[in-house]
Symmetry: C2
Subunit: 551 residues, 2 copies
Amino acid sequence: MRRWNGWGDENNGMELPPGGVGFLHERVGKAKALADASLESVLARTPPSRLPAHPLITTDAEARVRHARGQSLPDWLAMRSGDFQYFPDGVAFPESSEDVRELLDFCLERDIVVIPYGGGTSVAGHINPFDSDMPILTMDMGRMNSLLELDEESQLATFGAGTPGPHLEAQLRARGYTLGHFPQSFELSTVGGWVASRSSGQQSLRYGRIEQLFAGGRVETPRGTLYIPTFPASSAGPDIREIILGSEGRMGVLTEVKVRVTPLAEKEDFYVIVFPSWTQAKTAARELVQGKTQLSMLRVSNAVETETQLALAGHPRQIEWLERYLKWRGASEGKCMMTVGVTGSADQCRAAKRQFNALIKQHRGVNTGTLLGRKWAQKRFLMPYLREALWRDGYVVDTLETATDWDNVDHLLNKVEANLRAGLEPEGERVHVFTHLSHFYGQGCSIYTTYVFKSGVTYEETLARWRRMKTSTSDIIVNNRGTISHQHGVGKDHAPYLPVEKGELGMCAIAALCREFDPQQLMNPGTLIASVEPPQATVKKSVKRGDAWTT
Amino acid sequence: MRRWNGWGDENNGMELPPGGVGFLHERVGKAKALADASLESVLARTPPSRLPAHPLITTDAEARVRHARGQSLPDWLAMRSGDFQYFPDGVAFPESSEDVRELLDFCLERDIVVIPYGGGTSVAGHINPFDSDMPILTMDMGRMNSLLELDEESQLATFGAGTPGPHLEAQLRARGYTLGHFPQSFELSTVGGWVASRSSGQQSLRYGRIEQLFAGGRVETPRGTLYIPTFPASSAGPDIREIILGSEGRMGVLTEVKVRVTPLAEKEDFYVIVFPSWTQAKTAARELVQGKTQLSMLRVSNAVETETQLALAGHPRQIEWLERYLKWRGASEGKCMMTVGVTGSADQCRAAKRQFNALIKQHRGVNTGTLLGRKWAQKRFLMPYLREALWRDGYVVDTLETATDWDNVDHLLNKVEANLRAGLEPEGERVHVFTHLSHFYGQGCSIYTTYVFKSGVTYEETLARWRRMKTSTSDIIVNNRGTISHQHGVGKDHAPYLPVEKGELGMCAIAALCREFDPQQLMNPGTLIASVEPPQATVKKSVKRGDAWTT
């Protein structure tokens, strides 16, 4: 069964290797775990539901608790402490677009707030209920989880929006296809959630981001049903898909998703290359992607992440031999790991391997082969379980991510890391910070930073530590040419930073779309943008006629 | 100097080869050219300008005539007959974003309609003035034509929005880069026009459509300046770039465009392959693109287009030898030509060639080498001059284009061709119709159909012939899962068909954006959508509060 207060299935887990604990002691000091609340204590504290009865809605306390929080660090602390603050008043489990339509109409007539819910894996507060005078209904799409249609000639598959990653891939694999969308949250996140939050998968170099994979579908909006037909491409005006991508439930509920699929590849390998320095690793990665080498995945860890990964790898003898070999080849202190995926026909993989080997040689990279890459691939979706293991030892882990143009990567990365590393200096605490680049484009890449620190003496202190670091680093990101999110979306946590990125008129455009689809403003309020009210004082020109947004 | 009543430069032109004329006689009959009006007669008929004086605006009659029409067939007939109907009241030639801002403010204060003008190459009526009580200003962006900035690390270039194709490529080539965006209109069209109309170039397989190339920039809107910052990718809400892409001047004037550029490739070749049949050629193309073979260009002509191209090729002896060779290899009656471009490093080109040769062999394709491909590359931007040559012989040529999913390609193509071929049957005229597929995606491809017919006895009759075919075929396209445009945009000519494609709510979303950016509705009215007024009767749910779009 799924954990009510953490990541994944109760039967799955991860242990820190003994060397790993020692490594953290050395980096941030000895820690002491905070006590977890019990499910029973939380259930006892759920307030009565304010929802009128409806056959598709349950107001069962456990369902409400299990849908009250996502997977952000504040969510984690709330679930562990039992201090949830807010709960949905009920949870619906629609089984069809018609069910969703009926539920929406029910809510619109009664002024009930609707929060669409995919896998509940948001790390930015997308699905959190809030202080509201109106009742809140969470709409869990989990029962709409089937492959509805597969057009093998056009390579288009239609899924229920609540289909989670493993189930989606299993249904496709049975027919010889893959979507190839593998975010870290793959085990639990859903195709509808991927679209609504503009997600990106680990092999986006081959398969594209969800923007490239989402071909159309069906959205139940407060104004009626929006069908987005499929075209391979079109120049006919602004693209409606791009309005729904990243709409985060503000414009309606995605019920059916059409995605572009690919036949399963003949061959796939992941290589680990080690470079003597950060600059060499980063430059090699940039040149690989700018040279359009046909890779499926690319990731570059900085020196601290490389060191941390090797320390936590759990097979110290092998790692010792590897380190000796690398030292002999010129990569010791400050060395950086790159993981390269090649996927495709045998000939494509051979060509890609030939091309990347030629390029990494120019930057003194050492190809260690596929052994470490295979281990990475095996464990690629287990990383979220690491938070559980660290928590038991008294450590808190969170990640921050952004993307920026190549000319700004080092500048932004250094600012983010420096701010986090010094984040708890006032209280004499150390923070262990490391980073990788993991999604690559000709223009730039994503920056994904992990930070580990000791939990405070209380939950409140722990949350305050986190908030200080999160807030100041988010400020640094948006004010230094970084996007507030490359792959996690905006939610409620990033909403205050969005105006810096979109600008005043950009925010007006998004607000206008929200008002258009959801005139009553009942869809997931507070997510994506704080307010959709037309701004009054910000208009450059006075409006003389056709002032369409006067409320 | 640029032709005032046709395509391109007066010193450039094209002649039909003698065999070509005979071929058309045989297919559609002997024709007689209509007489052209003189520039003087048109100048004499321009009404007085209604614009107040402004130092950046000229009301010179020739400037107004030269900006009154694009390159659609109705535009062509208007320019040839001299019956222009409407003219802009003046033309402005801004040299900076500040000039554009000043002009916009001038127009907003005085209720002057603004038509942004790039290269004037629209084939869908984007830049045509219309019957209006308000004066109309055309804003020609042609003086904003410089490379403003080149970031070689992030491979981003900033151009003035009025930079035309050859000038843009020359400025980049001098620095070792290319944008790689080569629409048929390349000689005259501009980077701002490409973005505003969601253009696609012949080598989009390698470089992407303009959607993938447009990274950000500056838009002067009636509500103020919209800056779109560059990010390699972002999951932070709906993408503002995607709102401006395809906005066709309805939301403002693009003044600076940031595009993603690529270093000039080491190697480039175009091969011509001939297949015994349409099905074999089409299937090979689909499998090449679905197999992610690294090509830069792909094009498949159907049997009539293949036959027509060979007849009009102008070197009959060589073609005769080629036909004999192909017959010996099994490709005679019904054979179809494919053009394949490979671009990249030497190793990438070798790998691509190896992969496509292996695949075409499975479909009995005959690779004729690079000779015909070189000829195609040399003449690739001269095709628009062909209309001039045909016109002098009494023939009218136009094209129609769409895109659809693979499972629907043959169905739609056959419907479009059959409708055009029978288009003039009531008056006993024949129409010569042929098609190629020219932009390929895993999901489907574009369909580009050319049709040639004899001009009528009068201009009115000729226009009526065209309109009947255009209208009925556009209906067929949007009602048979085709987009109303894959690469030409909507303009005024396609606007009536857009609601079928976008749906009622999709149209509401686009209208809301237009109202948001342009509350006075002075920006290019009638283009893209017929009306941006909020629909009254189409709302599914009655609006109870926050009804933001009540006028």
